[in-house]
């Protein structure tokens, strides 16, 4: 069956020619025309766009439209007040549900304002039956401040079920005019015309490497991509748009440190130490803020853990955590405005731009596939050994060590994904993921118990709610502890799965060869 096709029309002068060609082949019946001025919104990672939806605002009301449809499927006006919109600002209803599902913790940001003209036509067959629906969508943007208007146009051809032959005929006519269907819709076309993009950000590492590439060059490419991700998140992180900016920034820092562990005999010892230190500082200066974010994001979850009698104390505790978060953010921003922070990022960027970052050591020139296989193998085997030695009586710290090992393995698999054929590396990551989730939860629950304890120091001496807070914290800690124990009980089966033959075959296949 056919699907709606999108033809990007870069030269509006051609529209007459297109119309003439269509009228030569079909009876064309004009339909509705409309003009709206609207602002498009999405999360930083384009969650709505990637799921085929447009969120637009006209005056105060927001509308959700599905790609290829003219009618809005939901609409509502949000509460104002917060600096950045999130799903929670919308009244209960379908729009709010969709927004929540698309990005529970991401802010919804304006992208571009356009004036959108839509004209529709029906192409008619015998007995004046509609056989194809056409929409010409034109956008004008950038007229603010008297700048020259920026235009874009998309012709949407929507098939009518059972009339495939006519749809193909249309495609042929358009192809004869040099028009082929493409990926762009009116939003992406408008942004493109302005020199912008949508849907390109992802927090995933995605570098394409060749197996024969020199190791030093490959590492440099990975590190550069990670720095790029850090930079993309910097602005949102400093403006505190949502907590994911800081999170993605930190993950990139951690990944970079992990990539540096691959540089023995590629970079000098001095370089390795210097950059590891610098990156460690970036991590350290954001630890506290992230910890507090995690707490505040989990508020609902924690509230569900403790009985109603402890809720007031928990509320009071969270109010203290929120205050502390404000303070930690100010502290972080002061650091981010400091020479030290600038110097770290600038010098790291400058290093990665210099030839030195391709490595001067003896291993810099060796093919990266060798490095990848060797280091992934080492991590994999070490994870197996560590995990295999864990019994019911092992101390928590053993699981912690295994968690770190698995994380490094995961990072390596991500860095080198492109070196392995098909989706081998993806599949290996999938095998690893379920174990990692278990270990991650276990560790988080462990750490959180300590944090709750630590938060008690935030309670001002003699505060009237002190007792409530202490009781709520006690309740929460015992609940976190019992959940941690549950994770621990699940560990054995998760590890068994990971250490099983399926994973082994996969790794053997990836790591064999030279």
């Amino acid at each position: 069956m056919h699907k709606t096709e999108y033809y990007s029309i870069s030269d509006p002068a051609r529209l007459d020619e297109i119309k003439a060609a269509l009228e030569g082949a079909f009876a064309v019946s004009p339909g509705e025309a409309s003009t709206v001025k609207e602002t498009y919104y999405d999360t930083f990672d384009s969650a709505l766009y990637k799921s085929g939806r447009f969120l637009t605002r006209r005056a105060r009301r927001f509308h959700l439209r599905e790609k290829g449809r003219e009618a809005a499927s939901a609409g509502a006006a949000p509460r104002t007040g917060s600096a950045y919109l999130t799903w929670a600002d919308f009244p209960e209803g379908r729009l709010r549900d969709v927004l929540r599902e698309a990005g529970e913790i991401r802010a919804i940001l304006p992208l571009v304002t356009i004036t959108r003209h839509t004209r529709s036509w029906a192409l008619l067959g015998a007995e004046e039956k509609t056989v194809v629906r056409l929409r010409l969508v034109e956008s004008v943007s950038g007229e603010e401040n008297d700048a020259a208007p920026i235009r874009a146009a998309i012709l949407e051809a929507e098939p009518v079920r059972g009339y495939g032959a006519e749809f193909e005929k249309l495609a042929e006519i358009l192809s004869g005019l040099g028009l082929e269907p493409g990926e762009d819709d009116i939003l992406s076309a408008s942004l493109k015309a302005r020199g912008e993009t949508i849907g390109t950000y992802s927090s995933r590492v995605s570098v394409s490497l060749d197996p024969g590439m020199p190791s030093g060059k490959a590492i440099r490419k990975i590190l550069k991509a990670l720095l790029e991700t850090m930079k993309k998140n910097e602005d949102g992180m400093l403006r505190d748009i949502d907590t994911e900016f800081l999170h993605d920034f930190r993950v990139s820092v951690r990944r970079s440190r992990s990539a540096l562990t691959l540089t023995r005999d590629i970079y000098t010892e001095e370089e390795r130490e210097r950059w590891k230190d610098a990156l460690r500082t970036l991590g350290r200066m954001t630890n506290r803020l992230r910890d507090l974010d995690i707490y505040l994001l989990g508020k609902e979850k924690y509230a569900a853990m403790v009985p109603p009698s402890l809720q007031p104390g928990l509320e009071a505790l969270f109010a203290l955590i929120a205050d502390e978060r404000e303070r930690a953010f100010r502290e972080f921003r002061a650091f981010a405005g400091s020479d030290e922070y600038r110097r770290i990022l600038l010098s790291w960027g400058a290093f990665l731009d210099s030839p030195a970052s391709s490595g001067t050591g003896g291993r810099a020139g060796k093919p990266v596939i060798k490095l990848a296989r060797k280091r992934i193998r080492k991590r994999y085997e070490s994870a197996l050994a560590l995990g295999g030695a864990i019994t019911d009586d092992s101390p928590d710290s053993d699981l912690h060590t295994l968690r770190i090992e698995c994380k490094k393995l995961r990072y390596y698999l991500e860095f080198f994904e492109s070196l392995f054929p098909g989706d081998e590396a993806r599949r290996a990551i999938k095998q690893l993921k379920s174990l990692q989730d278990n270990l991650g939860d276990f560790n988080d629950l462990h750490v959180q118990q300590g944090s709750v304890h630590g938060f008690l120091s935030l309670v001002p001496a003699g505060s009237p709610s002190e007792r409530d807070i202490v009781e709520a914290a006690g309740g929460l800690i015992s609940c976190l502890y019992s959940r941690q124990e549950e994770r621990r009980a699940e560990f054995a089966s998760r590890f068994e799965e990971f250490s099983g033959p399926e994973t082994k075959d996969l790794f053997d296949k990836m790591l064999s060869g030279n």
């Binding site: 449809r69 009618a71 029906a122 007995e127 004046e128 929507e158 079920r161 059972g162």
Partner: protein
């Protein structure tokens, strides 16, 4: 998917007119809607200007699956598709009779498209036949247009006894008045009497209007052609009631 049949033993009472307009209203509400023309005369196909493909026939229909999938056609209205009928549908009874589970075949056929649509409307031929038995089995809601005369009411009551005899759930049958004329006292009296006797009678009344009669001339649902008209509003009110039934009160007889 909710299946709504427009059915009556009597011919010419407004089944097709209601099926076409209600289906159009359902699709305008954003529901994915299919209307299935079961009448060999093909009236609803004709209203939508749709002709069945050359290779389509009653045995393909009865087989279900791909044959149906390939013959569903989009109407002029987004979200509204139609499965056209063929003259050979006059043999549908015989074709059904040859099958093992001859009384539940339609239910099975339509279950195959149930993921694709929110509403299925069945436009049925008049009379009582194996096709009607299938329809009464497959439908979640059976809408019966009644021209408000004592004779129509009598026929309607026969439907009740027929359903009881065949062990169908008569509670899913909802009559509504069709082609009603307020200035005829017989119509008014009949409507009042039946409404007080039968709890399932719907409140909306489709009046007798020449613009509905002329649907055959402009070949569109009146709800699309003259959306502001009195008739279109009557169908909208009927649709609102039916939608409510579908949302809450649907009682399915077998699973």
């Amino acid at each position: 998917m909710i299946t709504i049949a427009l059915y009556s033993m009597k011919g010419g009472v407004g089944k097709t007119a209601a099926a076409v307009n209600l289906a159009h209203l359902a699709s305008s509400d954003g529901f994915r809607t299919l209307i299935c023309d079961l009448d060999p005369q093909g009236a609803s196909s004709w209203y939508f200007r749709i002709r069945a493909g050359k290779n389509f026939n009653s045995s393909k229909f009865i087989k279900g699956g791909r044959g149906i999938d390939e013959n569903i056609k989009g109407t002029d209205y987004p979200g509204l598709d139609l499965l056209p009928s063929k003259l050979s549908f006059r043999n549908l009874d015989l074709a059904l009779d040859d099958l093992k589970k001859s009384k539940t075949r339609l239910r099975k056929i339509f279950s195959e498209v149930s993921d694709e649509y929110d509403y299925l409307f069945l436009d049925c031929p008049p009379g009582i036949s194996l096709v009607s038995e299938n329809v009464l089995d497959a439908a979640d809601i059976v809408l019966v247009p009644l021209v408000p005369t004592p004779l129509s009411v009598l026929t309607f009551e026969k439907l009740g006894s027929f359903m009881d005899k065949k062990e169908f759930d008569a509670a899913k049958v909802y009559p509504f008045f069709s082609m009603a004329e307020r200035r005829k006292s017989l119509h008014v009296e009949t409507m009042e009497r039946l409404s007080s006797e039968n709890r399932n009678v719907l409140a909306s009344v489709i009046p007798y209007r020449s613009e509905i009669e002329r649907m055959g001339v402009y070949r569109e649902p009146i709800t699309a052609h003259m959306p502001g008209s009195f008739s279109a509003k009557a169908y909208s009110a009927l649709w609102a009631e039916v939608k409510d039934l579908a949302a809450g009160n649907v009682r399915k007889p077998h699973g």
